[in-house]
Symmetry: C2
């Protein structure tokens, strides 16, 4: 039915929640909808479920494709599928779109039932902790008491970490890749420049641009260009683009002269086509706020003491956004707590984006770890 | 007359050039004016002149202060003055504002004599090589056949290097600090995002905003925020700001929450007050284009073969914009050419901006090198 290695054609599902949900900010959702997808089969013991958490510009669509849409491959299809590192022949894998995102779950573009208008600027600020609470409710409804693993990369890795702290008994393994226990000043600075570019765009209208029939495309484009630079390594950009020109010689203009400019502007434009500006603000703010050690006066060892899961962490040598040292902080704090932790520091050229790439050493490490999880599930 | 260590009160001078100047782009200036300052006295042999070249947001105002303007200290006052590393008791130091800049020399805000309107978008694209030609004409008019040294940091260092290649017999020493033989793809990418932010601002009007009585302040602010992040080291930002909040707790907003956001937005605003958007485009483009090895098929050794000067280079360990490895490329290419080269790699926390700081080890190295130059001048 499915091609080898692919989960094949998939269809997202919608689940509606009518019980109010309190958020970290003090605001609350009266009701909300979640889009999610599942791959593989939940076993009779309901013990083989793996939750995959998404990062900034991804969604519930982790693996497979949509009927009739050739270019609709899931964002982590190289990781999740039959015979893949997260093997859907053994695991029941769930991808869920977080509220605030722009891919189908309740977000700034949704109609606020209280006003009958799109949320826009009135959508509440959400945190990693809020998302984990939302995901836990979805698990309740799906009848999953405890996940074999919660996994994610970057912001997704923060959610996996937060699961281990918010619901220590509901997660057997935490798989956190290319992540950090908190953003640095430089990380926050890049986010803030991106947000400023969006807020500056006259088409943003304070977040209520939907009502004007416009979209802050230029601001979103600049935000994406900045983000994109931080996702790639300098060496990777040098290798891919170097100083290659679009034309034979310098044109002495402020248009596109270098290939890297063409690439970045194209990425910015493409992003502006499909992404929502309010979502960009919301998700970068959730990144800024994540700091589980904050409640413990900055002491990460103390913060992680409540975790009961076993941990797998991976980082990538050329990732300067969330450098290996940031993963090592987590590893060291876990070791100080005598937790079971596996750590892979992968020599890879692709910077932060390496976590999405099909790197054999990286994937072998993840596959080996999920083999171990599968043995525990069977046991 | 002057306080110890300071050149004291200074006054800029203007020089007008009426002979046409051909530019790298094929365009030309029919005439132009330069603002410049001088400190110290030219000796009888006219052999003690030092030219200081400025980087992106600096000018001819290198040292001293303006009468009645308390906060008008020159941008490299810690480097240039009596008893300072570049000792004005021994050297005749010249600072000159490059055309295209916005501090008094002919630039986009100037009136184009051909049209009677401000140049705006019609100001020609200028290169490092063009600036060096302009500076050489100024030297001619000042009766300086040969500089004891041409020096600069960052983009200023590129001009010093280019002097050694364009006028090999007119420069005894090239002092190039925190510089690079060419921008990387990542460097160009950051410049392009900054330019895009400016070009996107509706108040930019394609570069002719002067005629509309507006200024693309928001675009300039974002450009400066991006630039500023690249001038500082991650460690320095962590030290200065960390995750410090403006208020006691998270405000769950997209306003200013973290101190680093407040700092960056303030820097952006301040920059938008005094800087010109067209100048930002022009100067970042000059940075992009600089690549003296390009004419030699990328072979820097071959490109530097024509240099006859002696060289001093310095770089800073935490500079990730123009990292020490970039200076080392130049040093190695000079050594391959059997040139006399001194290189200091300074362990400093301040990133790219370290070249402007009053770092004792850095300043001692520059002072020692200028002692040597002074001995040669006397000999």
């Amino acid at each position: 039915m499915t091609a080898p290695g692919s989960v094949g054609i998939v269809t997202p599902k919608t689940m509606r929640f009518d019980a109010p949900l309190a958020l970290a900010s003090g605001a609350s959702f009266a009701s909300y909808e979640l889009l999610y997808e599942t791959y593989g089969e939940l076993n009779a013991a309901r013990s083989n479920a793996v939750l995959v958490c998404h990062a900034l510009n991804a969604s519930h669509h982790v693996a497979g494709s949509y009927e009739g849409e050739e270019k609709s491959l899931g964002w982590w299809d190289n990781m999740v599928g039959p015979g893949k590192p997260v093997d859907t022949n053994r695991f029941f894998v769930i991808g869920v779109n977080n509220p605030g995102s722009c891919f189908g779950s309740t977000g700034p573009m949704s109609i606020d039932p209280a006003s009958g208008r799109r949320y826009g600027s009135r959508f509440p600020v959400v945190t990693v902790e809020d998302w984990v609470n939302v995901q836990a409710r979805l698990a309740d409804r799906l009848g999953i008491e405890r996940f074999a693993a919660v996994m994610g990369g970057s912001l997704g890795g923060m959610q996996a970490l937060s699961w281990a702290l918010q619901y220590p008994q509901r997660i057997a393994h935490c798989v956190a890749i290319a992540t950090t226990p908190k953003l640095t000043a430089q990380n926050i600075a890049f986010n803030d420049v991106a947000r400023t570019a969006i807020q500056n765009d006259p088409d943003f209208h304070g977040g209520d641009f939907y009502e004007y029939g416009v979209k802050p495309r230029r601001g979103l484009g600049v935000a994406r260009m900045i983000g994109h630079i931080t996702y790639l390594s300098g060496a990777d950009m040098a290798e891919k683009f170097g100083r290659m020109l679009r034309h034979q010689d310098y044109g002495y203009s402020f248009g596109i002269e270098f290939e890297v400019e063409s690439y970045l502007r194209y990425q910015g434009d493409k992003f502006a086509d499909y992404f929502d500006a309010n979502t960009y603000l919301l998700i970068t703010r959730a990144l800024d706020y994540f700091d589980p050690a904050r409640a413990c006066g900055g002491d990460l060892v103390q913060a992680l003491a409540r975790a009961e899961a076993k941990f797998f962490l991976a980082s990538f040598t050329t990732d300067w956004r969330f450098a290996p040292a940031r993963s090592r902080e987590i590893v060291e704090a876990l070791i100080a707590n005598h937790r079971d932790v596996t750590y892979a520091e992968v020599d890879a050229p692709h910077g932060h984006d390496a976590f999405l790439m099909d790197d054999p050493r990286y994937h072998r490490a993840v596959a080996a770890y999920f083999d171990r999880i599968a043995r525990e599930v069977r046991a």
